[in-house]
Amino acid sequence: MTQDFVTGEKVVDAVKDAVAETLSIEKDTIKPESSLINDLDAESLDFLDINYRIEQTFGIKMARHFILEHIEEMFGEGSAIDEDGKLTEKAVELLKIRLGEELPGITAGTDMDDIPAHITVQSIANGVMDILDTLPEKCSCGASAWASDDGAKVKCSSCGEPAAFTNGDDLSQEWLRKVQEEKKIF
């Protein structure tokens, strides 16, 4: 279902907070389209810090395996990355559907290590929204009484338990299975 306890604006705002605190920069300088690496000079430790902060804010678990790894796990070695480290046509097709936007500069033959530069505030926020949208109809206690005090963490107002969202890796796999069924990419 699509949940309406946490808004898209709130998620973008929280990602900006996480980025601003991690990098010690003014929040107003961060835009949804800012590339963490190219525009904001984030390094890999910063990436980890930002993601851990976001997980804490929303009570979610993001994917620990990037989609290219899931593609190869599911559709076989060489299905996403060739032996020179270049993206396959099918990997690019899936990345474009997954990230739901144009990816300028990413085509079949792009080096896989060019991808992180395309990670933006908005693309992180989109990933968070996808996880939040897995909010189950009912809590494990049986109540259907979700609520959020801060517009970020969703909990059951009957038993007080935090919402159990699908984790990012399970979500990626479910998504790949669904797209494969619909579009027969492989």
Binding site: S44, L45, F47, L48, D49, N51, Y52, R53, Q56, M62, A63, R64, H65, F66, E69, E72, E77, G78, I81, E83, D84, G85, D111, M112, D113, I115, P116, I119, I124
Partner: protein, 129 residues
């Protein structure tokens, strides 16, 4: 012909320590049990964790795999020690699959620290196909 893949990375020890303190689970998610045991016995554990983090990141650069978030691949690149104390890299999971894909057969790692910084270089070699 031999193909060489190189990677280098530098880590600020205080920054790493700060992240370890703020995020419960960071240390056990990024470092293997053997790495944690080795580092935690040292007088300055965070300097050694920073060196290992730099080695993992240098190895990722040599493999051409950039981080996009919290990635299990950090656990799959393990820094071990030969009996003489020389560091060695052990790869498993996705890290190993990438290395196999690129025909990598040899690897070396070097780690150094000074003051608040740790630095590492990794060289991976393979036959050019």
């Amino acid at each position: 012909m031999i193909k060489i893949h190189q990677g280098v990375d530098m880590v600020n020890t205080s920054k790493l320590r700060d992240i370890c303190m703020r995020h419960e689970g960071f240390v056990s998610e990024i470092f293997t049990e053997r790495e944690r045991e080795y580092c935690m016995l040292k007088k300055n554990p965070y300097q050694h964790l920073a060196g290992r983090f730099a080695a993992k990141e240098a190895c990722l650069k040599a493999l051409g795999w950039g981080l996009q978030g919290i990635d299990s691949i950090m656990q799959e690149i393990e820094v071990l020690h030969s009996p003489s104390g020389k560091p060695e890299l052990q790869l498993k999971g996705w890290a190993r699959k990438l290395a196999t894909k690129f025909g990598i057969t040899g690897r070396t790692v070097s780690i150094s620290h000074s003051g608040d910084y740790a630095v590492s270089t990794v060289i991976l070699t393979g036959e050019k196909r």
